[in-house]
């Protein structure tokens, strides 16, 4: 065969292989979504959302404490991570040539790669042991630590995307750097930052390992940050490794709630980004 015909064949084969790899990657996704939806929907009822867990081995019961718990824990984590993340992102974007900025950027990347179980071990040492108490505060802190690098990076990148003309305009009008950033640049980047925060929230809502020895677990519905707290992820874990069929069904339902949450946040972020692009570029 002529050399160039062979080359064209190889090219076509490779193109198809790349397409195939996309399919191969999407097959597990389809599988997982299929099982989560088909198994989870069976146990998704009013009792699931409103009842507390039944005693071990008895039928019935629900995930009310776990759902509220996840919301509270994510809230505490966000309360800690959002200010720290945004403000440190502002610093890195505004003063990028300082040594602190380089260190902070490196720290954010490092923190992003720290395994979640290690964060849990760390928070146990500083927030559980000294107070001799498992608490939602500790769990929220662990989640917050995991959330910070995402928020920092998002803030930094989005601030850099804001047209310099905006900042220069504010400075030209006599604003201090702080004022310029806070009242002009940051609001311009706000929609993107909020999108990033929403995605980060979805990510930490799905974390299990850092909660195992910080928030512990709680049979009861609690919003007290000083007490242990149940969470969707830990409850799904406990039910999944149990031998009870009823608990397995509830675990799938819990997984469905988690996946729905993640899906919702991702879609929200997608639409927000597209809207943002359209606003900025005018089409």
């Amino acid at each position: 065969m002529r050399h160039d015909v062979v080359r064209r064949w190889i090219s076509t084969i490779v193109v198809w292989l790349c397409g195939l790899s996309v399919v191969v990657a999407l097959v597990p996704l389809a599988f997982i979504l299929f099982f989560v939806v088909s198994q989870g929907i069976q146990a998704l009822n009013w009792e699931f959302f409103t009842a507390l867990p039944a005693p071990v081995g008895e039928l019935g019961g629900g995930f009310a404490n776990a759902i509220v718990g996840t919301l509270v824990l994510v809230g505490i984590g966000a309360a800690f991570a959002v200010p720290v993340g945004i403000i440190s992102g502002v610093y890195i974007a505004e003063f990028p040539s300082t040594r602190l900025a380089t260190m902070a950027r490196f720290a954010a990347d490092t923190l992003n790669g720290v395994p979640s179980i290690v964060v849990g071990v760390f928070v146990y040492g500083i927030a559980v042991m000294p107070f001799k108490q498992f608490s939602a505060m500790a769990g929220g802190l662990a989640l917050g630590i995991m959330m910070i690098p995402i928020v920092t990076r998002t803030t930094e990148e989005l601030l850099k995307l804001v047209p310099p003309a905006l900042r220069e305009g504010a400075l030209a009008l006599g604003a201090t750097r702080g004022r310029a950033t806070l009242t002009v640049v940051l609001p311009a980047a706000a929609p993107g930052i909020i999108t990033g925060v929403v995605l980060a929230l979805a990510r930490i809502a799905g974390e299990t390992a850092p909660l195992l020895f910080t928030a512990f677990n709680n049979r009861f519905l609690s919003t007290d940050p000083r007490q242990p707290m149940a969470s969707l992820t830990v409850q799904v874990y406990n039910y999944a490794i149990s031998p009870y069929e009823d608990w397995h069904r509830q675990a799938w339902a819990g997984a469905l709630v988690l996946v729905a949450l993640v899906l919702f946040c991702s879609l929200l972020a997608r639409f927000a980004t597209r809207r943002l692009e359209r606003l900025q570029t005018g089409h």
Partner: protein, 346 residues
């Protein structure tokens, strides 16, 4: 559409947020008490705490993390009470910041569960055989040692998959304690503790994890508290006791195991009743203990727990048999109520 955050709107939002955060605080059970420990008694404890909670409007949050975790967290004082089926060692008790009382709550049994395809009959085991299986010396279900004990049962040529606990467990303690008594090799190479170095097998988290693994893995064998086998309808075998009989775990056989201990109960209630002598005795029976500090800092919580224990030792015992546990003998209850009086509640 741009929403303008006028001062009025801002204040309203803050008030709303505050209300949302504050309101559920009223739903919080007053003075929640946290405990952790064994999975062995978890079914009856969760039943008890649920029933008692309804009676007295208290919230006792018990997490079955395993006896090892219960002991550890109690020592660290991150929980108020612990629960274990392997009594604390002297070293562990010395490491604790205060004196800890072991209070027996019920009697239970550790049973050998298995999942062998095609076998519906109840299998018979001896102690040494179980030790050999868990040491990896007997590896197939149709091994002559098993076949000899179970004539008439068609055992397949299938590998035995051993399942044990991956976490520190009192159930493991009871199991290892029994095996050490009947198998000198086990005593020498593996030993007795809540977390031994298992020669072979898969690790499941909690009794639930072990039961789950065994149920899903054909050819597997594990050990769990009786109640888990009953609740999940998984097959469990009979074990040969010190008198040579093959006994299946049941309320009478477990109660018989405690009979000898009743006469010679040590003052701190830490006693092993595995491989107890006598007819009709189930060899892998054990007490399970609730651990309380004698002089804890939070006296209010102490009072709640002492009152709970008094209820559990008397009215609570009626729930035991329904869940596959044997109630405590009356003599032991009397001794315990006396011991409870030493716990400081004010």
């Amino acid at each position: 559409m741009k929403v303008s955050f006028t001062p009025g709107r801002r204040r309203a939002l803050v008030a709303l947020a505050a209300a949302i955060v504050a309101a559920p605080a009223f739903l919080v059970a007053q003075g929640q008490i946290n405990g952790a420990g064994a999975t062995f008694p978890a079914p009856i404890y969760s039943k008890w705490f649920s029933e008692y909670g309804k009676l007295k409007s208290v919230a006792i949050n018990y997490q079955p993390l395993g006896s090892g975790a219960g002991i550890r967290q109690l020592t660290n004082q991150t929980v108020f009470f612990g629960a274990t089926d392997g009594p604390m060692t002297t070293d562990q008790m010395q490491a604790a910041p205060g004196k800890i009382l072991h209070l027996p709550t019920v009697l239970g049994a550790v049973v050998p569960i298995y999942e062998v395809p095609g076998v519906t009959a109840e299998l018979k085991f001896t102690g040494p055989l179980i030790a050999d299986i868990f040491m990896g010396k007997v590896t197939k279900w149709n091994d002559p040692a098993i076949v000899k004990l179970n004539a008439g049962v068609k055992l397949p040529d299938l590998d035995i998959t051993v399942v044990h606990r991956s976490d520190g467990s009192g159930t493991s303690y009871i199991f290892a304690d029994y095996l050490a008594k009947v198998s000198p090799e086990w005593a020498k190479t593996v030993g007795v503790s809540t977390a031994v170095k298992w020669p072979v097998g898969l690790g499941g988290k909690g009794s639930e994890g072990v039961t789950g693994l065994v149920k899903q893995t054909p050819g597997s064998i594990g050990y769990v508290e009786l109640v888990y086998a009953l609740q999940t309808k998984i097959a469990f075998g009979s074990v040969q006791n010190a008198a040579g009989e093959f006994v299946k775990a049941s309320i009478p056989s477990v109660t018989a195991a405690a009979a000898a201990a009743v006469k010679a109960m040590p003052k701190d209630f830490r006693v092993s009743i595995t491989n107890a002598p006598g007819p009709g005795v189930y060899p892998m029976a054990s007490f399970t203990w609730l651990l309380l500090y004698e002089n804890p800092k939070d006296k209010a919580q102490s009072k709640v727990m002492v009152d709970f224990m008094k209820w559990a030792l008397t009215d609570g015992q009626k729930f035991a048999t329904g869940l596959g546990y044997a109630p405590l003998p009356a003599e032991i209850v009397k001794l315990e109520l006396a011991a409870l009086a030493t716990v400081k509640v004010s």
